[in-house]
Structure formats: structure tokens, C-alpha cells
């Protein structure tokens, strides 16, 4: 059925109330790239479209001493091109710069990207690896949840009706290095066969300093970003060297049971998890990485 109404709330409270109203089936849209596709494909058939474009204050990027707050309405292009973010959150900037194409990145927002919970999109794995936290506003107030607790399944979030992500807080402690490697098996415009986001914290900013924190998160191989916590935790307190890269690569390849699709079979993805986890960790073992697309 055609959509009956188009609503443009001008305050968060108004938006949450509209979306929480269970009398109507409503769909929220920020940039609308994903919603537009889902409407076309018939995956969504709402009575109301609620545009978040006129909500004030969601388009800010605030750089603090030990964290960065990115408003939910900030576009992926803005993240990718923001000079400070490129310096302090290079893996996130890389991931945002590699989503879809320039037109999608110009329109799609960081909040919308998380709310879509697309298993093959680049930013979620990176945000999980960086320990990012979503600030969520709902009819009953504000709550915070780690990205891994928001993106909980294949195109599925833990957001309740009426809840909106308003910003994402990303820690930026000293001694942190991070990278994102995206691997494509078809054209340069394909979605990833796998994406590996890795982040390491060290007591001192030297490559041979021992690890105080480590995360490696693999995207596009399952419904949600995958991590193998035992493997990363085991490396804490040790130097991140090539042997560590091999251990992590093997552990990840063994622990993850990847999906099978046109971008790679489950067997192939397992091989690629092994390859790209190692490559990502080696990149960090050599110093701060920036990542890229292969």
C-alpha cells in the first residue's frame, strides 16, 4: 500500500513519541538510503514515514580528550573526510570512506548505518572494535549500549519501538592503534567478502610495548560482527608480534563459522578470516595502521 503520511518531527521527544505510537506502523529514516531500498523491494510497508532530517543537534562531531562523540545524523562522508577523525580514528574513517559509493556516503548517516544492522556494512565491525557506545533516546529517556549490544542479528537491532540512536561515543585513549581491512572478491563496488577491524592499546606508544587491550572484529561473515574474546584476551600483556598474528589468525579461523554467499563460500571465508586477521594484526604490530581495501 502507498505510504499515507510523511512526518518531520522537529524535536527528539516528538520523534520518539511518533515512533512509539503503536496505532500506526511507522518507519524512521535519516538519510533514507536503506529505507528507500527496502520500500522498493517490499520489505517495508509502513503507514508513516518519519523523517529525522529536521531534528536539531544530531549532526555534531565533538572531539574530547579521551573520546569522540559523533551525532547520529552525521553522514558517512563527513566521518570519512573529517580531518581530526582521520587522525584520531583512522580505522573508522577508512571504513566510512569505503561504504557503497560517494552518493550513498553523502546521504547515509552513521546512526542510520547502525540502525540498519547490515551484516556486510563496514562501520559496525570497526565501531565494535573501538568499543563504541550508542547513546539511545526513547520514550522513557536515554540509555547507552555498546554497538555489539545494539547490532544483535542479521539486520536486527535491540532498539525498542520509539528508540533512536542519537550519537555514538568512541573512546580515544592514548597508545591506541587501529586498522580496518576490507576484502573484495568481485568488482571495486562490491560489498566486502570480509572486513577485519583491529584495535590495540599499549602502555606506551611503541610497537614492541606490551598490549594492554586488543580487539579484532570480523564483519560480513555472519549476521553480526564477530570477535573471539578468548583469543584476544590471551594476547594482553604480551607484545603484538607476528607470532601473535598467527595465533589470532588461527583462532579466528577456527572459531568463526562463516556464511556462504556469492562473495565467497564458507570454506573460502574461513581461509580469508585467517589471512586478513593476520594481515590486520601485522599491520598493528608494525605501528599505527590506516587500513584499506584489497
Amino acid at each position: 500500500m502507498p505510504v499515507a503520511s510523511w512526518l518531520e518531527p522537529t524535536s527528539l521527544d516528538q520523534a520518539c513519541d511518533l515512533l512509539a505510537d503503536d496505532e500506526f506502523e511507522s518507519t524512521a529514516l535519516a538519510g533514507g538510503t536503506a529505507v528507500s531500498l527496502m520500500l522498493k523491494m517490499g520489505f517495508l510497508d509502513p503507514e508513516r514515514l518519519v523523517s529525522l532530517a529536521r531534528l536539531p543537534g544530531l549532526d555534531q562531531i565533538d572531539v574530547g580528550d579521551d573520546h569522540v562523540d559523533i551525532g547520529a545524523a552525521v553522514s558517512l562522508s563527513q566521518v570519512a573526510q573529517h580531518a581530526t577523525l582521520r587522525a584520531c580514528l583512522p580505522s573508522l574513517a577508512t571504513a566510512c570512506a569505503s561504504v557503497g559509493n560517494v552518493r550513498v556516503r553523502n546521504i547515509a548517516t552513521l546512526g542510520g548505518n547502525l540502525a540498519e544492522a547490515d551484516y556486510a556494512s563496514d562501520p559496525p565491525a570497526v565501531l565494535v572494535s573501538l568499543g563504541a557506545v550508542c547513546v539511545i533516546r526513547g520514550p522513557s529517556g536515554e540509555r547507552r549500549a555498546g554497538v555489539e549490544d545494539v547490532v544483535v542479528g542479521h539486520y536486527t537491532t535491540s532498539l525498542e519501538p520509539g528508540e533512536l540512536i542519537t550519537s555514538v561515543r568512541i573512546p580515544t585513549p592514548p597508545g591506541r592503534s587501529a586498522t580496518y581491512l576490507k576484502y573484495l572478491t568481485r568488482s571495486s563496488e562490491d560489498r566486502p567478502c570480509i572486513g577485519v577491524a583491529a584495535r590495540v592499546d599499549r602502555a606506551e606508544a611503541r610497537p614492541d610495548a606490551s598490549v594492554t587491550g586488543l580487539d579484532v572484529v570480523v564483519g560480513a561473515v555472519a549476521g553480526t560482527p564477530q570477535r573471539v574474546a578468548e583469543a584476544t584476551e590471551a594476547e594482553v600483556g604480551r607484545p603484538l608480534d607476528r607470532a601473535a598474528a598467527d595465533r589470532l589468525a588461527t583462532a579466528y579461523a577456527e572459531a568463526i563459522d562463516p556464511i556462504d554467499d556469492a562473495r565467497g563460500s564458507s570454506w573460502y571465508r574461513t581461509q580469508m578470516i585467517e589471512v586478513f586477521v593476520r594481515r590486520a594484526v601485522i599491520e598493528l604490530s608494525d605501528g599505527p595502521g590506516r587500513g584499506g581495501t584489497a
Binding site: L49, S51, N101, R103
Partner: protein, 182 residues
């Protein structure tokens, strides 16, 4: 003629420097609105999913897929299509000129969109090099395989702009020299 069953909203936006006011069905792709109601032909639908780029338009100066944007999303904004790049007296934009000079077209279905993508990128990043522009063009597909000529057009354009910059700076410096009492 809009179907009576379909809810519409009034949408006003700036289209190539003139006001466009339409009653658009809710969620109707901007591409449909432009082609069916507003006489725009240079934006063309191909994939319908924002991948191919043949429906590229500029919204507030940034490239967007008109097949994915709902018409309501451009209310109050500025939309430019390839038609809008041509001057009042038929002057070509420098990007169009570069494409023409490099024979950067075959069937030409994708070309106006390519031109817009380059235009937007250079407007946002005046110092972009050819490599940057190439990356920006990755989302505009050409099945005839005119990419080599398109890259040549971009190279030429970027080089010419850089040369102009140098010339302009030299002229500025010269002007400063003249003004400088020392």
C-alpha cells in the same frame, strides 16, 4: 496525474536555479519526480538501487542517487542536474568541456552523471588530484568501457586547473608585489 488513493505532499525545491513546486506521492523517488513531472532527462534510471550512478544529481552541491532519494527529502534544498551545468548562453561547464575534448563518451547514457560526480568532487575538494576524482567516480558505471577516456578527461582537467591555480597565484603575487610599497 496523481492517483487519488495516493497521499502526496507539497515539495518545493530549487531545481537548476528555478523554483520547482510539486505534489509528490509520499516516498516517490526524486528521479521519478524529475523525469515525469519536471522535464529532466539527463538523470536516467538504470539499476534502481543506487549502484550504477546514472541518476546522479547534486543536492546542496553533493552527489546523490535520485533513485534512492525520496522527493520529500529535497524539500527546501537545492538540486542540480546536468541541465543546470550549462550556462544561460549554452556555455559548457569546465567538466563538460573536458569530457567533450577527451571524447569521453560512447552510448552516453552514463555521461551526464559522471560529469556531475566530477563537478561535485572538485567543488568540495578544489585541490583534488586525478586519483581522488577516480575514486569518486568508482560509483558511476559505464558498460561501453569509456573509462580510459573519462580518466583522460579528468587528468586533463585537473592539470589545467592546477596550471590555472599556479597562474592565479602568480598573478596574485604580482599584484601583491605591485601593492607592496617596499
Amino acid at each position: 496525474m496523481p492517483d487519488p488513493e495516493v497521499a502526496t505532499t507539497k515539495v518545493r525545491f530549487d531545481l537548476n536555479g528555478s523554483v520547482a513546486a510539486v505534489d509528490a506521492p509520499i516516498g516517490q523517488p526524486l528521479l521519478t519526480t524529475l523525469r515525469e513531472g519536471l522535464g529532466i532527462r539527463s538523470a536516467r534510471g538504470t539499476c534502481g538501487v543506487g549502484v550504477c550512478g546514472t541518476c546522479t544529481v547534486l543536492v546542496d552541491g553533493r552527489a546523490a542517487s535520485a533513485c534512492l532519494l525520496m522527493t520529500q527529502q529535497v524539500d527546501g534544498r537545492e538540486v542540480v542536474t546536468s541541465e543546470g551545468l550549462v550556462g544561460d548562453h549554452g556555455e559548457l561547464d569546465e567538466v563538460q568541456d573536458a569530457f567533450l575534448g577527451a571524447n569521453a563518451f560512447q552510448c552516453s547514457f552514463c555521461i551526464p552523471a559522471m560529469v556531475l560526480t566530477v563537478r561535485a568532487h572538485l567543488d568540495e575538494h578544489p585541490d583534488a588530484d586525478a586519483e581522488d576524482v577516480r575514486e569518486a567516480l568508482a560509483g558511476n558505471l559505464c558498460r561501453c568501457g569509456s573509462y580510459p577516456e573519462i580518466l583522460a578527461a579528468v587528468d586533463e582537467l585537473v592539470a589545467a586547473r592546477a596550471a590555472d591555480d599556479v597562474a592565479a597565484r602568480a598573478a596574485d603575487d604580482a599584484a601583491v608585489d605591485r601593492e607592496d610599497p617596499r
